[in-house]
Symmetry: C2
Subunit: 232 residues, 2 copies
């Protein structure tokens, strides 16, 4: 058999990795893979991307479902920066600035194609961790926004009412949807994310102060005009 002179794939040459490295590599690349293919993506194709054979996956994870669970963990957990808790409740600075800084940082953390796709895929599957995360968002972000806003506006302290939380969700969802359009739909969004956040916050805080009937100045420090394009 005349072996063709050209590169005949010089044999995969298996290389042993430490189980820890292999495992974490699997999870990280599986997150990439499933984020593109969805969780119905095949283990063989995944293994090809990993540069190993498919059965090796089953030495590290009892089942595909277990691997997926690990992917959830890396995507959902450890994404929250503990400093954000202090930031959102730091009454030494106005809520306008707190929210601007928070949403800039938060969207830096989650506005990736990988994160958003896995978030939506898992949301459609209805997995528990997704519902848990939605609860976290409400508790750690939206309730605080309402409480802190009420405080700054001089309104009486009280548990956020459902209608107030819904308004928080409209803001949050509106910002989130910007990420969906950019990273999932591939729309031609306005590239300046921080400006989109700024405008959204301006409208939200100005609007809510009107709707709630207080004249609190929420734009005391950061004054921007959408479309003027002269703030940077």
């Amino acid at each position: 058999m005349s072996t063709v002179a050209s590169a005949a794939l010089p044999r995969p040459k298996q290389r042993r990795l430490s189980p820890e490295d292999r495992r974490s590599d699997f999870i990280r690349k599986a997150a990439e893979f499933f984020s593109e293919e969805g969780f119905d993506g095949g283990t063989r194709e995944l293994a090809r991307k990993l540069g190993v054979t498919q059965p090796l996956l089953y030495r590290y994870f009892p089942s595909k479902e277990d691997l997926i669970r690990e992917v959830y963990r890396t995507v959902y957990l450890d994404r929250w920066n503990p400093e954000w808790d202090a930031l959102l409740t730091d009454r030494s600075q106005p809520i306008r600035e707190r929210l601007q800084h928070f949403y800039e940082a938060y969207t830096d953390a989650i506005f990736t194609r990988e994160w958003m796709r896995i978030y939506l895929f898992s949301g459609l599957k209805g997995v528990e961790i997704n519902r848990w995360y939605v609860g976290i968002v409400e508790d750690r972000i939206l309730k605080r926004i309402v409480v802190e806003y009420r405080h700054e506006a001089g309104l009486p302290e009280q548990e956020p009412e459902p209608a107030e939380l819904e308004l928080g969700w409209v803001l949050h969802g509106g910002i989130f949807y910007y990420g969906v359009r950019k990273h999932i739909y591939g729309s031609n969004v306005l590239e300046d994310k921080d400006r989109v956040i700024s405008n959204a916050l301006d409208v939200f805080l100005e609007g809510i102060s009107r709707v709630f009937g207080t004249g609190v100045k929420v734009r005391s420090t950061l004054v921007r005009r959408p479309g003027s394009g002269d703030e940077g």
Copy 2:
């Protein structure tokens, strides 16, 4: 062979339907099916739900992908009520009321579990019809909101700027996300959808009038307060 006395499945007894009826029935139920299972749902399970055998599907659709395309059509198309075009641009009534009526009707049309799930599934697949639909939303809804708002606010007529459209998207996405939370995440949302819309519009229109630096009265007729719960 001692046939068991109990109900031995009295034989499916095939029933012929007119091709038109069969076909439309397939598409309608396939939409239900795929909205739950995702487009990776199997044709056999689908056929079971349809009460027919799996190969029959292939008499009506050359391939599974063709069937899915038909599902897209029923979900994406014919969902837009032509009256909405006139409604949104009807300058005989204030924009506040126009938007309230429009979003009540629009969300009545799309806030179903089936629609939202298929919309998200197809968005994740990146199919063309989804991108097309996003363009429709921008052209038929958001651009009009900006134009009509500018008109009512006495601002100069001009093509909506990207930053203005982004603000429209934040409103739209915020309302949309309410539907996602209710119909996909199964969250305990505030059930009064029209009130959520009303509050979102109040905040948006009040806020934008402030941010744009005009004092136009956008709540001249409908005045509601979130959380007061006394407007019904």
